[in-house]
């Protein structure tokens, strides 16, 4: 493939005005980069400032209160423990993103590879439900949880991720473009059972899509406030966004510490950034990998 690329470039290099194009591209990229990093810059700067400094207005340079804020955030006994909340979020987001990507691939594979009577209706059904906002069924979901006694539990935060129509749809699109049915036929001839074929032959080919959706679903679960806020109540079970919203509304009626809040936001982002850096390498690799198979 590398070769194809080179040939391609040689052909294109003869084309016109790559220099202007590159200047424009870099300028555009630089602009976008500034836009994206500005929020992070502000966040880091704000995490180094004390409450009074923060409320006094904006500053460009960091101040000296980073460790103060860290100590406050880490040890604050008036809110659910931050290290604990990070751990909780990691558990929930980790498990639900894994379940989500694996089961979506499973479903997409099932619908793409096999012929069965309900195949078409099943697919149409998922397409129809894909656009239903989760909030629409929130009321009924909570009532259900009360009935089966699963309030204040992680299961209702993790299990529903098995049925993620949008992730399914992405997987389906991807499988269509990378997975020739012949490969599966070949595996069957070799006597591989269907489940094994999926795990050992199809899954590796879906890596790029899996990586992309893994990080997407991890992030969305990590950042989810709506559902955990409705379901969780025990202080030691709360996830980071819930704790953050507690802290933020605390500001509304009593002395709160903005420096501490920014520090907690920073702390809540670090794990996601780490996971992202791990998987992003895979995404980029995977994307290239996908093109070979295509």
């Amino acid at each position: 493939m590398a070769k194809t690329r080179e040939i391609n470039e040689e052909v294109k290099a003869e084309g016109s005005k790559p220099i202007i194009g590159r200047i424009l591209s870099y300028t555009f990229l630089a602009f976008i980069t500034v836009l994206c990093l500005f929020a992070f810059y502000m966040l880091i700067i704000n995490a180094t400032r004390s409450n009074a400094q923060l409320q006094a207005g904006f500053e460009v340079f960091p101040r000296e209160n980073f460790f103060n804020n860290f100590k406050k955030a880490w040890n604050d006994e008036s809110i659910p423990s931050i290290p604990r909340a990070l751990l909780n979020s990691f558990t929930v987001a980790g498990l639900s993103s894994l379940l989500c990507t694996y089961c979506s691939a499973l479903t997409a594979y099932g619908i793409h590879v096999y012929d069965f009577k309900l195949k078409k209706p099943a697919f149409t059904f998922i397409m129809v439900i894909m656009t239903i906002p989760t909030q629409v069924s929130a009321v009924g979901f909570i009532q259900l949880l009360y009935k089966i006694d699963l309030m204040d539990n992680y299961a209702p935060l993790i299990i529903p991720s098995i049925a993620a129509p949008a992730v399914f749809f992405y997987m389906k699109q991807y499988i269509e473009s990378v997975l020739p049915l012949e490969v599966i036929e070949a595996a069957r001839v070799d006597g591989s059972n269907e489940f094994r074929t999926f795990n050992t032959i199809a899954l590796p080919m879906l890596r790029p899509a899996m990586a992309v959706q893994l990080i997407f679903s991890f992030v969305s679960s990590w950042n989810n406030l709506f559902t955990p806020n409705l379901i969780l109540s025990t202080q030691s079970k709360l996830t980071v966004p819930v704790v953050l919203s507690l802290l933020r509304s605390k500001m509304n009626s009593q002395m709160g510490d903005l420096g501490e809040i920014y520090m907690i936001i920073l702390l809540s982002i670090i794990p996601v950034v780490i996971v992202y850096f791990f998987v992003s390498k895979n995404i980029i690799q995977g994307v290239t990998l996908g093109s070979v198979k295509g």
């Binding site: 980790g94 498990l95 507690l246 895979n282």
Partner: protein
């Protein structure tokens, strides 16, 4: 590569979830019994106070509640009472602990008369901020599940605010506290007992504070605008709304704001309403005083006498710093102790540059009641706590002396009001208790409905467009009616 990461992720996630299950039992609480808490503090701080608390604490309340539940479940919407409880009842928190909760320093002093929590009883706090009625929803949920909940999960007592106490006190979800040994003491402000009682006069709980609300002003600005920072002079200059407006205009000429929020004066009107928000047939009634407020706020916004921020807004809060340009705030003792952190900031605040007076209109604002939940499995402990914060003069004195509260004990308050040496440093040494003793006489807790919280909190915001001139008055009313319909379908709007 990918597989390995997946496996690692999966493995670590599983370990985490396993760990979280294991630790659950141990970590479910935010506060533990004083035996443990006291010791921990004592090891951290070998100073005298720590040991005293650790040894004294469990002894007192020990046997009384021996037969009762092992978990005391308390619901609250903020940390205010939790702090007082831990300092003066449980004795687990040093009395000199700062607002930011830093503990474990060598100077820790524990309150040596704290009754303490009986040994083996765990105190579990659930704090749900009250934004948009979230706290009420939470408490409702818990109270409805009360009957079927396991003994250790039952709510024992919860805190309620003036705006919605009627809803709970009037229901059978709260306990007639006379059955557990709490009665209206002579030293209690009558309205606090009245507010916590149902239609049959059965009292369901007590308040640990009395909340007359005052005008809180910046001394330095008052000097410039009125020519004096003496509370008597300032009161004379601001004794009615006409004078208040005159001074507002003057303040503006000098580059100051009279108030920092268009909703600043709302409670001075609404809590003096002569009609309830809702009539007997559930029709919405806009109280006459609220209409007066709307007219006043419009005038203040039009003239630029106030900042266009909400009652809890950041812009308003920033006005409490030394650099602030706002002269007046309105609020009770809890307000300047608990919500004016910016004014108390050691670097940017203006500690001591404040004073209080009655202002143009006597009123009250808020107040925190402790209501016993029906079905509590710790009745003795709950009753003991309620009595501690109302009739225990040591604790009430500590609340005034250390926490600058205005307690719900007339004897204690009078003692401080009469003490020429007592003063609040935040108010430049002014004896605020003396002022509040007078203001407390005017409090009328009348015409409340179960709907008050969201009506009172929602109204000023719904009218902001009108105040600013981006919506007509008619549109503002329509938006407010819509808001009422959304929140309280039972109310019939015009």
């Amino acid at each position: 590569m990918k597989k390995r990461i997946l496996t690692a992720l999966l493995a670590s996630a599983m370990i985490l979830s396993a760990a979280s299950c294991g630790e659950k039992a141990a970590e479910d609480t935010t506060t533990t019994a004083p035996a443990a808490g006291g010791d921990a503090a004592a090891t951290d701080a070998p100073a005298a106070g720590g040991d005293a608390a650790a040894t004294d604490a469990p002894a007192a309340g020990g046997d009384a509640a021996a037969e009762e539940g092992k978990v005391l479940n308390i619901h609250a919407w903020n940390e205010e009472f939790k702090g007082f409880f831990e300092k003066y009842y449980a004795g687990t928190k040093p009395v000199n602990a700062g607002a930011d909760g830093e503990e474990g320093t060598a100077d820790d002093v524990y309150y040596d008369k704290a009754p303490g929590i009986p040994e083996g009883v765990e105190v579990v706090w659930t704090i749900t901020p009250s934004d948009g009625g979230a706290y009420q929803t939470k408490v409702d949920e818990m109270l409805k599940a009360q009957e079927t909940a396991a003994a250790d999960d039952k709510v024992d007592f919860f805190l309620a605010e003036a705006d919605y106490i009627l809803k709970y006190a009037g229901s059978d979800k709260t306990l007639d506290v006379s059955t557990i040994g709490v009665t209206q003491a002579d030293t209690m402000y009558n309205y606090t007992a009245q507010a916590a009682s149902d239609a049959n006069g059965k009292m369901k709980g007590v308040s640990f504070q009395c909340c007359p609300s005052a005008l809180i002003y910046r001394r330095s600005i008052a000097k410039e605008v009125i020519g004096s920072d003496d509370p008597a002079d300032v009161q004379a200059a601001l004794s009615d709304w006409t004078k208040f407006e005159e001074v507002a205009a003057k303040a503006k000429d000098l580059g100051y704001y009279m108030t920092a929020s268009y909703a600043e004066t709302y409670r001075t009107f609404s809590n003096n309403a002569t009609e309830a928000w809702v009539d007997a047939d559930n029709n919405l009634v806009i109280p006459g005083v609220v209409k007066e407020y709307i007219a006043q706020a419009k005038k203040f916004m039009d003239n630029g006498w106030t900042l266009p921020d909400g009652i809890w807004g950041d812009e308003k809060n920033a006005q409490m710093f030394a650099g602030g340009k706002t002269m007046c705030f309105f609020g009770p003792a809890w307000y300047y102790n608990f919500s004016m952190g910016n004014a108390q900031d050691p670097d940017a605040g203006c500690f001591g540059d404040w004073a209080i007076c009655q202002g143009p209109q006597a009123h009250f604002w808020g107040g925190t009641w402790l209501l016993a939940a029906t079905g509590t499995d710790n009745p003795t402990l709950v009753a003991d706590i309620m009595n501690a914060f109302t009739i225990n003069e040591d604790i009430c004195s500590a609340l005034v002396q250390n926490e600058k509260q205005f307690s719900n004990n007339t004897t204690v308050n009078q003692k401080f009001a009469d003490d020429p040496n007592y003063g609040n440093a935040f108010l430049g040494g002014q004896n605020d208790t003396a002022i509040f003793v007078e203001l407390a006489k005017n409090i009328k807790f009348e015409n409340s409905t179960i709907y008050d919280q969201l009506l009172n909190e929602g109204l000023p915001g719904q009218f902001l467009g009108y105040f600013e001139g981006t919506a007509t008055e008619e549109e503002a009313y329509a938006a407010f009616y819509q808001y009422v319909n959304e929140n309280y379908p039972a109310i019939v709007t015009p």
